[in-house]
């Protein structure tokens, strides 16, 4: 049954490569879901705020990895 273990490991690897990157994405999603709606911001800001945070997480994570060489 080693192939089952391999497939499960691969399935997890589909979503998580760099742990801190995945955690940052999940935290930002949680903030957008549970925190931002309570701040009373205009509804039209919701989508752009979600995107801006994701873009920042991507940029920061890749730049940090690039600087580690």
């Amino acid at each position: 049954m080693a192939w089952v273990k391999t497939i499960l490991h691969e399935a997890f690897g589909l979503f998580v490569d760099d742990g801190s990157f995945a955690v940052a994405i999940l935290l930002w999603l949680g903030v957008n879901w549970q925190v931002l709606p309570r701040l009373g911001l205009p509804p039209a800001w919701g989508g752009p705020i979600l995107f801006a945070g994701l873009a920042l997480i991507l940029l920061e994570s890749a730049a940090r990895r690039a600087g580690r060489r």
Partner: protein
């Protein structure tokens, strides 16, 4: 409804086709190595058995997807798609910037060939090593394709079929190319494909997740095109920033 179709169908087919192409090319490399080293009977039997298992899984669980309410489905699919898409995009950015090496199908083929040769010849009619190796790689890459199809197709009404057709077209294209070329598809610009797919999947993920948690999108369904443009711009800028950081780190 028309705007949903026109705004989402094209990117859905494209995302499913490109992402599935990447996965099928990786599977083809290993199946070719298995067939070349250990014989085509085992290679094709293993790959065929895996495709059959995947088909049965889709038939067993696929109909259940249509019974899940749309909002929770968008939340789950959007989250998984964001994790998956942004992971691909980050890796493609780092490869494009020269931070990590490009994926090399020829090297993967050579490594797989060595590994299969090291396991000795089989005297049996059905070579267990060949069947297992072809089955495993086809299952691994196939599950990724099934996930991609579900993830890009399940977030909106009527999108599963276009996503499935995109993946099917990729399977046919890669199999035909494999039959014609008969060696690993090294000339496929894999990182450019992954970069594009990462942008598309990230955009879909953000859109479905936003829909799932009740966010307002400017332009409604058409905002997915804006998200694609936004992720593309950010990704290209990040490649440039990473290149600069690599060069400055090398100079110091």
């Amino acid at each position: 409804m028309m705007s949903i179709a026109w705004a989402h169908v094209g990117p859905t087919i494209l995302a499913a086709f490109l992402a599935s192409t990447v996965e099928f090319v990786e599977a083809l490399t290993v199946v070719l190595a298995v067939g070349t080293v250990r014989g085509w009977r085992g290679a094709l039997a293993g790959a065929g058995a895996a495709l059959l298992v995947l088909l049965l899984l889709i038939l067993a669980f696929g109909p259940a997807l249509t019974r899940i309410p749309l909002a929770p489905m968008q939340l789950i699919v959007g989250t998984l798609l964001l994790l998956f898409g942004m992971r691909w995009l980050r890796k493609a950015i780092l490869r494009a910037a020269g931070i990590i090496p490009l994926h090399d199908e020829a090297a993967a083929f050579a490594q797989q060939t060595r590994s299969l040769q090291a396991q000795g010849r089989s005297t049996r009619r059905w070579d267990g090593v060949a069947i297992a190796a072809a089955f495993e790689i086809t299952m691994i890459e196939g599950i990724e394709v099934v996930f991609i199809v579900i993830a890009v197709g399940a977030g909106g009404p009527g999108l599963l079929l276009p996503a499935g057709l995109g993946a099917l077209a990729a399977l046919v294209a890669v199999v035909l190319l494999g039959l014609v070329v008969h060696k690993p598809l090294t000339t496929i610009p894999e990182n450019a494909l992954k970069f594009t797919v990462g942008v598309l999947l990230s955009a879909f993920g953000a859109f479905w997740l936003g829909e799932g948690i009740g966010l307002d999108w400017p332009g409604d369904d058409w905002s997915v095109l804006g998200l694609i443009a936004g992720f593309l711009a950010v990704a290209l800028a990040t490649v440039s920033i990473c290149r600069t950081r690599r060069l400055s780190a090398g100079a110091s």
